[in-house]
Symmetry: C2
Subunit: 165 residues, 2 copies
């Protein structure tokens, strides 16, 4: 994967705020929308969710999750050319006081400042999703399977999330 494609991947991940989260419920997949924050090096994605939400209950029972982050449909003639990344990961709660909790909380609040009250409530959990791999579709006939290391290389290729055009 060349550096332009790495930069494009990092731009998508850094500039979007909503992802599609896949969990397992009663043996079937379920996809819900989540707001996410991401570690600067893409080693972890963070989601804040109520205990009561269905996807939190799913993740309590089964740590296997997937996150899709896709380029926004810009009305182009062929929607199949939109770039997107499907991440496979493992979800774990990050309790208050655990290593990495404060960094994650600050990353999340930098993106979603209105969520601050939810951190004070006892019924919200901060979840950490650690990528185990990903499939990146950068456009037509440009699909790549990525290891966690390759995901982090893409992060390093574009620390600001901007693209030169």
């Amino acid at each position: 994967m060349d550096i332009e494609l790495q930069q494009k991947l990092a731009q998508i991940v850094r500039t979007h705020r909503a992802a599609a989260l896949g969990t397992i419920r009663n043996g079937a997949p379920i996809v819900t929308m989540v707001a996410y924050a991401v570690a600067d090096d893409f080693s972890a994605f963070y989601v804040l969710t109520s205990h009561l939400s269905q996807h939190a209950q799913d993740m309590q029972k089964d740590q296997h999750v997937s996150l899709l982050i896709a380029e926004t449909d810009d009305g182009r003639e062929d929607v199949h050319g939109l770039a997107r990344i499907s991440i496979r990961g493992k979800a774990e709660t990050l309790p208050f006081g655990a290593p990495g909790y404060t960094v994650a909380r600050n990353l999340y609040l930098a993106r979603f400042p209105k969520s601050e009250p939810n951190f004070e409530l006892g019924d919200f959990d901060l979840w950490c999703i650690t990528p185990r791999g990903a499939r990146y579709i950068a456009g037509f006939a440009r699909a790549f399977n990525l290891t966690p290391d390759a995901i982090q290389e893409a992060a390093a290729a574009n620390p600001s999330g901007t693209l030169q055009t």
Copy 2:
């Protein structure tokens, strides 16, 4: 659910072109982006995909799928308020000549005219996803579990997909 919320649901489903598809792979969820068409009454969603695609291989092994269709992030202060619908469904291929094939093909091509050559190739399948239920989150504290009948009622509440503002 009042008629304004039904109309909003139908507007989201009719005006978007890309959904997040959840399938099961080796016991774990995986979320990919798909282009979709939808029956006028929301009784079925249609996806055209190569045999070789990973999600086609997943659906061949396990019919359980989920489709998320979400309002586009418009940069509002709190992304959690975006409306979205998570559909649980059953995926089956719709072979050439089967009942409903021509209607489905025409619906798909009306949205994605550039896909016509793919219908001529032997290595693409038209998949029909039949909703078994859905969860509709219309905004803060406005979440609804919908039966297939309730989904179709929303379709009938807004046949054109437009909203009066």
